[in-house]
Symmetry: C2
């Protein structure tokens, strides 16, 4: 029996309806960005440790658990989201694989472990300056979307701190921040290896980027083929369809 | 009457055959990269000053001259290429618009002028470590392709030194160097504004990048739609055709 708050609803996390997820339009709902990051991220199949920073309702760990037997630690700073993520893990019987931990990525408790993870994922807040109206209206969404509790540098620093040397860091963000991301990655010795741009449709500018870096890696960046989400007529492209509903 | 060395030949610089160019397979022949950079580069139409660093046989100034009345200064370190570029400018009656100057971009003579250009273009050497065989075999090609006479940092530093505050710097390079380029641009206060990746065909990784930065600009990068060169059957895409033969 799963308890839901009044503002929560039960959705499917995956198109095959084998995985349920609690969401809330006013607190946290997962986006296409999280699905694309989970799909883009390298995972060790049999064993290993994965850390998801700013996990929200746990969507990325839930999706990754379908592709790996590695243990996954899911961290978020908001107690309300931790509650949601914990119930999501329990509802899907994933307590053995996914540990949900409340914490601030700027100062994670020692047992999270430094240089301890094969893979660190993060779908961080995208916007540096919060609009005042949004700040006042909804604290949950503001913290998830704006850099009020952590900056991009805090995120990159935390990724570096917790990933093993030679381990992978995988992040989704907006193209407008690419220069910041790449500069910070270099500063923290995370060498970008794979970069993929997501375009809403042909002829448009990219509106999302997926980047994977290796701690202490050698310089050797590959720019993957572009990922288009929609055809001209608004239907999903085959590749987007396969990722979202596959 | 144009004099040609034994290893030189006379080609057309443009598909409409209105512009001729001296090339040499053993000294310098222009590539698709130069054509794409000339096409990608912003130019002021009526007046202004443009600087092309490492101009080779002058292909980029020649192509830009068709789109602008701005004066263009073309610099190269190799006397043999300066000779070729000068004859190309004369042969096309562009002496009024294009000045060809022999010089090392690490130490350009004072009359090139600091903070003096609206636009600086560069198709720099791509490879950091020259293969020994190539080094020994052909000095001209080695200098054009490998960082033996200037590093990427020298190039970026020179772009910064000569472009006006608010002016544009436009460079073509390989995706593997994107992290270096972006980091160096930031170091020298050249803020990337437009970035376009060139893919040989669909499904492949990008093999070229075109980047434009603004000196002292605000962070706001746009990732332009990808540019594909070939269809599956090896014929040019419409866009590549329009750039190359248009």
């Amino acid at each position: 029996m799963t308890e839901l708050y009044d503002d929560e609803r039960l959705d499917y996390a995956t198109a095959d309806k084998t995985m349920k997820i609690i969401q809330s339009p006013s607190v946290f709902s997962f986006s296409l960005d999280a699905i694309l990051l989970a799909n883009f991220t390298y995972v060790p199949i049999k064993r290993g440790r994965i850390l998801d920073l700013g996990t929200g309702n746990g969507i990325i760990p839930l999706l990754l658990s379908r592709r790996t037997h590695a243990t996954i630690t899911a961290v978020d700073i908001q107690p309300r989201l931790i509650s949601m993520a914990k119930r999501n893990v329990e509802m899907n019987d994933l307590q053995e694989q996914i540990a949900v931990v409340e914490g601030d990525l700027k100062d994670l408790q020692p047992d999270i472990g430094h240089s301890n993870y094969d893979v660190v994922t993060c779908n961080p807040p995208y916007f540096s300056t919060p609009a005042k109206t949004e700040l006042n209206q909804n604290e949950h969404l503001t913290i998830a979307r704006h850099e009020v509790r952590c900056t991009l540098e805090d995120v990159v620093k935390a990724c570096k701190l917790h990933v093993k040397p030679g381990g992978k860091v995988s992040v989704v963000h907006r193209p407008g921040r690419l220069v910041d991301i790449i500069s910070l990655f270099r500063t923290y010795k995370l060498e970008p290896k794979r970069l993929r741009f997501v375009y809403p449709k042909k002829g448009r500018e990219a509106n999302m980027l997926l980047i994977e870096a290796i701690r202490d890696g050698q310089a050797d960046l590959k720019i993957l083929p572009p990922l288009y989400i929609y055809h001209e007529d608004g239907s999903y492209t085959d590749e987007a369809e396969a990722i979202i509903h596959g």
